[in-house]
Amino acid sequence: DVKVTQSSRYLVKRTGEKVFLECVQDMDHENMFWYRQDPGLGLRLIYFSYDVKMKEKGDIPEGYSVSREKKERFSLILESASTNQTSMYLCASRAWDRDNSPLHFGNGTRLTVT
């Protein structure tokens, strides 16, 4: 079974802090993703990566950056946290293949910015 592990289930940070959300997958997947989930808005893609040191902007990248130094690890960085970044953050991974393998998600990190 694919395991995607997010390092924290709950985080509380102050406005202006730099925040790191970590994600590790154990299935040697090429592709990794960061989504945020908000009521009434569903899951929105922040950034994704299809290889080490590669990154692509998703639909809402503003205020975020990412790092992928190793294949199994994908970090989301909030450079200066703001209250509108309070959300549930979901990391996912998938193998690159032609059969559209599904995304495998971690259990999420609920971030509160005060």
Binding site: N31, F33, G40, G42, Y50, N100, L103, N107
Partner: protein, 112 residues
């Protein structure tokens, strides 16, 4: 611009009856569609998918129907069970694109 829409935020269904969840999309380039199920405090889990070359795909109690001309897909669950109570997201991708676009979700409640 919401390219994938789930217009019903919530749905309640009696146990044993059929649950029908709907999803509409606007991007005609989408050619692969998926449904995910999410319990509270857990990440979404993959449920079922369908390629645009098909109009129906079944997996046990779950069937997904695709109407390309209407840009509409639906998920049928029959019979519905209490464990089906969750939030359901539909998602779509285009031409083996790496990213999925998700809908806003429908909270399904199965009433015992």
């Amino acid at each position: 611009d919401q390219q994938v829409k789930q217009n019903s935020p919530s749905l309640s269904v009696q146990e044993g009856r059929i649950s029908i969840l709907n999803c509409d999309y606007t991007n005609s380039m989408f050619d692969y569609f998926l449904w995910y199920k999410k319990y509270p405090a857990e990440g979404p889990t993959f449920l079922i998918s369908i390629s645009s070359i098909k109009d129906k795909n079944e997996d046990g109690r779950f069937t997904v129907f695709l109407n390309k001309s209407a840009k509409h897909l639906s998920l049928h669950i029959v019979p519905s069970q209490p464990g089906d109570s969750a939030v359901y997201f539909c998602a779509a991708s285009a031409n083996l694109d790496e990213k999925l676009t998700f809908g806003t979700g429908t909270r399904l409640t199965i009433i015992p």
